[in-house]
Symmetry: C2
Subunit: 426 residues, 2 copies
């Protein structure tokens, strides 16, 4: 199939964009793309490709912007229950401790998720994936971390495998057993840390060999992530978990510097983690460490927005230091129930002062690098997956400029077309 | 038709909600509604209505939340062109004067709108109305004000009449000839003010009698609005225009206190305007004047968000003074291209500290009062229009809690059903 007559085709060709390189869209005017077998087979101008492939079935982009599908490299998309009541309590001025005392906070999601069967988890998560997809996310990282015991954590990962199979999205799984301390280990955080290292990571490794996962065959090792934060895992505990995971061959990620700087982002750089995420109170030393590494700095703008906190990731400083910056939604039931990467772009234009071009690169090729998928998605290049968006706008800068709605007209995933056009017209 | 089995039916019955009354949802559990001839004919519980109307055709709300359609009481939905390039310049740190020098700002929209034919205006505006409608807005105020000469201002109002006829939305028109000074009057603002009072308002009045409007018959008088602000119309000029309009019988509105407090909101209260809008730097004295009147205070949260300004309408103080608070999108091409009242609700929960219940009342019954339509829309009551939303959520507090996507499952306008359900499922 030949997609032609795009006003602007954003190829994002050339790999992850570091520091001041960020924002190179590889823009082709009046561009066209050839799709074969779910992959991009050729790319050029409309006249070039129509001449080269005159008999090809065509899709007229009709002056729309064509770009790679969004990659959302940090989500907690899988959970049971909701926390709408907690949101209201926060608006009424209730403190975090009062909310905890009323049964709220992350452990309320843990309770609901532990109770949920695999089928219930799937049923509650599907609409979120549908929303993310219709807003243009074609590859999504998603974490466990609402189980906090071996059985529920593996059930969550099985659910992610199932969703990867049954939906068009590529779901990239991450094990986040070190998300919080479960109530039964409230007084023994070190014991829980040891449990993660000794029991859970072993069980996870066995699971990936196919011993007990739902596919019954070996699957790639998921990421292992740690929430390194005051009230969650200390730097020493984070190191213990990440080093244990690394010994078993798992690729790493770190939640760092959301509220307090414990050194998590420098640890991520030191261990060669794929990414360090949140990064609100990151120091110049941490930024230098990240910039000297291939660890991607992932800003999560929906989280301060969701909490109405004024501080966002210091993106300009990270770029000035030479870091690789990506953005993600952080989709989760507590602080950021937002499936839309378009909205993350609108936020980072305003609160991280990224241009639309920078935000788009951070949401595609650099986001793919944050989950080590930049060789297969994140740009429009020959051989990559045909994960493509047609935007209902004449200029890419409408991303960022406009907010709160959906500018995606058509999502193409592995070459298959899904249209967002309204069922009714007026 | 009988809509039944809503988890929560928000009736908002009882008229505009003043001060601390704000947030009375009139919630019915397991509610039902009877629709006849496009109006609400009965309301109660599912068991009551199914017993009373056993043979009625039914629509199963299936545990969704049912509520009145949103009323968006302040938009500039009609314009030609876009200002994406200006948005990017602002992100790059360009000043307002630099943007003006590069041909940006409101006058760039005036240039494009003057050049556009009625048909071009309609074609460019329709997708915005479609977006607003799919996000749940069933009644929308919309202003002229990008013509700034008599012919273009009336063409804009004719376009609004046409869109009111051809779309399911109720479009409530406002004349905003006093939006800015056109380039040809740059050196003579008082002359332009006199032109508005002497020529434009007379022409507008003749237009409403059917002499030259596209319907060819008498129509209700539109609102007359003034942008009372430093760089726009002084307090004296605003008074001159509003008093001229009032003498001709026009109902009034005022843009007041967006950047500087010139006294516009007290003027609105003094003259009995339907609303005073923006209200960011409103003083305690102004709030007292508004509270002593029936003039609705309309907060426009998308505008500071769009500009990344930290200051929003001081909603808590307005409520404490006893004012009637509504919210609107301010949809416009310069500062807030956002069609979604759901997103306005997400903003006011965070930045005006309204609860979801208060935000919903401000977006429905109080918004209807801000455009003097609270007798026909804004609540689910017998005799009112069957303008109804089914939300894809189990609890109304998901409005506000969740952001950046569309929670509306079905829009019902005058009893007619429009479904947002995806064309594709996975």
């Amino acid at each position: 199939m030949l997609i032609h007559s795009a006003s602007q085709t954003l190829t994002l060709a050339g790999g992850p964009q570091r520091g001041s390189e960020l924002g190179d869209l590889g823009l082709i005017k009046d561009g066209a793309l050839l799709i074969r077998d779910g992959k991009i087979a050729a790319i050029g101008t409309t006249s070039e490709l129509r001449e080269a492939y005159p008999a090809e079935e065509t899709l007229n982009a009709a002056g729309r912007v064509v770009m790679p599908g969004f990659v959302d490299p940090h989500t907690h998309a899988l959970w049971a229950g909701d926390r709408a009541a907690e949101f209201e309590m926060r608006l009424q001025g209730k403190t975090y401790l009062e909310i905890m005392a009323a049964g709220g906070g992350i452990l309320s999601t843990v309770r609901a998720t532990r109770k949920a069967s695999l089928e219930e988890l799937l049923a509650q998560t599907r609409p979120r994936l549908q929303a993310a997809f219709s807003y243009g996310t074609t590859t999504m990282e998603a974490k466990s971390g609402y189980g906090l015991n071996t059985a529920t954590e593996l059930r969550m990962l099985d659910a992610l495998l199932a969703l990867n199979e049954e939906t068009p999205l590529d779901i990239v799984p991450t094990f986040l057993g070190a998300h919080a301390f479960p109530p039964e280990y409230k007084e023994n955080p070190q014991s829980y840390t040891n449990l993660v290292c000794d029991e859970m990571l072993q069980a996870l490794h066995s699971w990936t060999t196919g011993q007990n996962n739902r596919k019954g065959k070996a699957i790639p090792l998921p990421f292992v992530d740690v929430f390194c934060e005051t009230g969650a895992f200390t730097l020493a505990q984070s190191r213990q978990i990440l080093e244990s995971a690394q010994k078993l061959g798992f690729p790493l990620k770190v939640h760092a510097d959301e509220f307090d700087n414990l050194g998590g982002s420098s640890l991520a750089a030191e261990l060669g983690a794929a990414s360090a995420d949140h990064l609100v109170v990151t120091s110049p030393e941490d930024m230098a460490a990240l910039a000297a590494s291939d660890t991607v700095a992932v800003g999560l703008p929906c989280t301060p927005f969701g909490l109405a906190e004024p501080e966002y990731t210091p993106a300009q400083e990270i770029l000035a230091a030479g870091g690789i910056l990506a953005i993600a939604t952080d989709l989760n039931p507590g602080t950021a129930w937002c499936e839309s990467m378009q909205f993350a772009i609108a936020l980072v234009c305003r609160y991280m002062k990224l241009t639309p071009a920078q935000a788009i690169a951070a949401a595609t090729i650099n986001a793919a690098a944050a989950i080590q998928r930049d060789h297969v998605v994140g740009s429009l290049q020959v051989g990559k997956r045909a994960d493509i968006l047609l935007l209902n706008v004449p200029d890419y800068r409408h991303l960022g400029y406009r907010f709160g709605t959906n500018l995606v007209h058509t999502v193409i995933k592995n070459g298959q077309i899904y249209s967002n056009e309204e069922k009714y017209e007026f």
